[in-house]
Amino acid sequence: MKKREVPKPKREKEFWLILIFIAALAFRLFFALRTSGFTGDDSYFNLRQIESIKKSGMPILHDNLSYSGRTFAFLPGMHYLLAGISFIFSRFISNEILFKIVLNFFAATAAIIAYMIIFELSHNRNAGLVAAFATAFSPIFLNSTINSISTFSISIPLNLLLVYFFIKSEYDMRAVTRFMAVLILASFTDSLVMILLIGIIFYILMISTEDMPESPSRLELVIFSIIFVFWVNFIVFKSAFLAHGVGMIWRNIPSAISSQYFFRINIINIIYRINVIPFIAGIYVLYNYTIREKKKNIYIFAGIIFVLLMMLWLKLVEFWIGLMLISIFFALLLGYFYHSLSSYLAKTKIAGKLEGIAAVFISLLIVSTVASAWQYANSASADSLSQNQEEALNFLAEVQSEEAVISAPESGMLIEYFSKKKTVMDSEFLMIPNINERYADIKTLYQTPYETKALEIMDKYDADIIYLSDTEREEFSIISLKFVGDEKCFELLYNNSVMIYRKLCRLGTAG
């Protein structure tokens, strides 16, 4: 294997990189720590799992609360990591703050890895810094990870590391070992790595058509990776695969709400959300270095972005996940664009004004990126669990009841975590039978004006409590429940923007 001499980054540039990292971390923690609670019900699912691992060493695989009894299938890498960290540090700091700090720290490292990738490709430190900045403040990535216990906080940096080591594997044997080590970690954290590998397969197909055959060592590495990742995912998700077949890709989401997760994309929507500058820069780089100049490693990005766009188009990946990944890769390409632009300008008459142009470019980047990042981060922070909701859920924990709570799917995991009550539905839909019927029943219950219908549905699911928060109001387009007029049948237990009702009667059976 030929060794390639890569210039070492200067200390001054390292200083700027560390500054970007600290700025990103500070930015994240500013929004994360100013609110109590986490954003998204998934965070509370993950929190339950982490607490279970801390307590018993095992995650909750058979749960009595979710859907009043079900099995989970998920990759537990992040959960074990956080459980371990919590085990050591929870005596000094609350879990909530600890997890926010740790996960935002991991997420912020994506900036450093982005720098490493672009520096490796371009040997241009400034280009690396541009990529680092754009990645650190990628709006969608921020929104998904800033205030959530999300596997993306760890899997995105790991996947970027995989890209980095894959690029280096062409000439550095150590990169192969490191690639494999990171692959194992990434495989047990999130299934995102499968998307990356499919992208790399497309990369190999692309370069083979361009008469740039891939080295045998890299081919072996890719084949091994595919088999390993496929095997891990098959073992973990085999019950889900058995239950849903290929439909597992769509996570058994009820068809009535699947459009909230998989919706038809249009290019304007994508450009708007990932920002115009990275998009145009990324397109330019892809065009120039795959069509005109044919730079082998740029094909890796081309392959991954192509796969992501296809998967979004075919609704094989959730919109926000696909968009997040695309925005990160376009952020990387923005860095390479900077290198390309500065190399070009250096050869022109205005080479002397390069620093000025760079300053304008970077200013534009900072303004557009940070403004967008601020908006998305603010939104994530605002969407976190409100004080009212937390109080309501804590109240619900005190309510004596062996039966289930009816709520919208997005409230389910909050109820399970805070109130330790059984739920009729939550947003973990995998391996739940008759999911469409269940969702339709819940929707009917919230919208029906008829007491008998509501009672019938509640009896069907052995539920005796109805939870009504802004989530339910928005989900089912209602303001209040129309059938709760009869106090003999429905008792209002709690009313503070969140309303909790208890059923007092049963539907009589015919004699």
Binding site: V176, M180, S217, E220, L221, I227, L242, P433, N434, K460
Partner: protein, 499 residues
């Protein structure tokens, strides 16, 4: 003189050592098999009272006992409320062995013995074919860990006996000695009695081998006579009952362990076998026999025949070729070579562990046995309705089953299956009662599995709704098990009022 004696001694010692080394793989394989056997039965002894696993075994045990009591069987009064007994050589083998050790014990040791015999035969065939020692060693170990093979060794079933006779027969067919020729003819004859699949495979394996070894034409012609003789039983059955309907398109879940097939093959092994098949194709002149036999087995599988145990041998063979290929090829990165081998071993080991984890909890458990035992003590006649796989338990306890899993030449099969569907899913009490009365169904057995998706997915679906009517259905027994309660319902006969 002294020197030549010494030389002879060294040569003899070297040969003995070589023979010892050569049989080591068989010993390892048998040790693995015995270990699995011991763990399996120890667990079942501890948690299910030592009940043999698998419902099919209870059918064979019942038939073997009947053979020992009554001699040659022609009629089974319990299966499908009474049907012609379709000859099964395995029942007679079990009956014969049962005369020595008891039929229940024979149900346990016969499959193991057949598995061990088939290991020896498989080993002999691979050696005779000139396969590399390393490939043979790997093939044997993979075979022992293949769920389809292990399942056949741990449960009472005719497939492993058929495989043992067939493989032994073919091994002797490959040999030159006169005694081997006679022995192969006898063993092929016995193998053919274990079902149409065994007959077809026996015929094919001998035939394909003979095509490449024309000097065995005479031998094969004699074999054809034996096959023709043995096929008389099938011809008589077909003449009497017609051809069996062919069921096409078995799904992956019936052959892949991780997709639910307990007697299937692990996905990792299937992928390896695929790689091995591609590798073997490159030298198809040498590997004509395993390739063509695999093609035949896949065809038989697609036609709905139970050939999983034979596929286990084929997969073990091709997997070993794949592993050898991966081990011997020149890798650009040695670390990947090591990692790939480790990954393969982990994959195979995981399949084995998955299988054992599920196999030890196979039905029946003590709850099912206690429930049917109670019913048999309180049985007042009529048919017992449950899902077909519970039919064997019903019959084992001396009661008439409305249906069981033995669909071959079952009387009024379609009508009975339709009636079962009608009864299970209808909410119309009158229609259901009419079906129950028409089919003389007096008891209904409902297991937790039936309520958890095997029959019903929702509470109060179909018959579960009608069972609330206590004038028509009486819940006579509830047996608690870990999975839930087994319910036994008595159908109250309706009194016909004068019109």
């Amino acid at each position: 003189m002294k020197h030549s004696n010494k030389k002879k001694k060294i040569t003899k010692h070297a040969e003995t050592k070589k023979k010892r080394i050569a049989i080591l793989p068989i010993i390892y394989t048998i040790v693995v098999l015995l270990f699995m056997f011991a763990v399996f039965h120890a667990y079942r002894n501890a948690f299910t009272g030592g009940l043999p696993a698998g419902s099919e075994g209870y059918y064979h045990e019942r038939m073997a006992k009947a053979i020992n009591e009554k001699g040659i069987l022609s009629y089974d009064s319990l299966s499908f409320s009474g049907r012609t007994y379709i000859f099964s050589a395995y029942d007679y083998l079990l009956a014969l062995a049962g005369k020595v050790t008891g039929v229940r014990a024979a149900s346990i040791w016969i499959p193991l013995a057949m598995a061990i015999i088939s290991v020896f035969a498989f080993y002999g065939i691979m050696r005779k074919s000139g396969m590399k020692e390393s490939s043979i060693n790997i093939a044997l170990l993979i075979l022992a860990a293949t769920p389809a093979f292990a399942y056949s060794a741990l449960t009472s079933n005719p497939q492993i006996a058929a495989a043992a006779f067939l493989l032994s027969a073919f091994y002797f067919y490959m040999r030159e000695e006169k005694a081997a020729v006679v022995l192969s003819a006898i063993l092929f004859g016995f193998a053919s009695l274990f079902g149409a699949a065994a007959l077809l495979i026996s015929l094919s394996i001998a035939g394909i081998f003979t095509i490449k070894h024309p000097e065995r034409k005479k031998r094969f012609s004699a074999l054809l006579g034996i096959f023709a003789l043995m096929s008389v039983t099938y011809i008589i059955t077909i003449a009497k009952f017609g051809l069996l309907p062919i069921s096409f398109g078995k799904s992956l879940s019936s052959i892949v362990l991780e997709l639910g097939a307990l007697s299937g093959i692990g996905i990792f092994e299937l992928i390896l076998a695929g790689i091995g098949l591609l590798y073997a194709w490159a030298s198809k002149d040498r590997n004509y026999l395993p390739i063509s036999m695999t093609a035949l087995l896949l065809l038989l599988f697609l036609f709905g025949m139970n050939v999983s145990v034979y596929l286990a041998f084929a997969c073990a063979f091709f997997s070993s070729l794949a592993i050898n290929f991966l081990d011997e090829r020149k890798w650009s990165l040695n670390i990947l070579r090591g990692a790939s081998i480790i990954l393969i071993l982990c994959g195979l080991l995981f399949s084995g562990l998955t299988f054992m984890g599920r196999a030890v909890n196979m039905e029946p458990d003590s709850g099912i046995v206690d429930a049917f035992s109670w019913l048999s003590n309180n049985y007042s006649g009529g048919n017992v309705l449950s899902v077909p796989k519970n039919g064997f338990y019903t019959e084992y306890f001396g009661m008439k089953a409305f249906s069981d899993d033995n669909f071959e030449y079952a009387p009024n099969l379609e009508q009975r299956l339709n009636a079962s569907q009608q009864i299970f899913y209808s909410r119309d009490l009158d229609k259901t009662m009419a079906e129950l009365a028409k089919n003389n169904i007096t008891y209904i057995v409902i297991t937790p599995e039936m309520k958890n998706g095997l029959v019903w997915r929702k509470e109060q679906e179909g018959l579960l709704f009608l069972l609330r009517n206590n004038e028509t259905f009486k819940n006579v027994h509830l047996e608690s098990t870990q999975a839930g309660s087994i319910e036994i319902w008595n159908v109250v006969p309706q009194v016909q009022t004068a019109g």
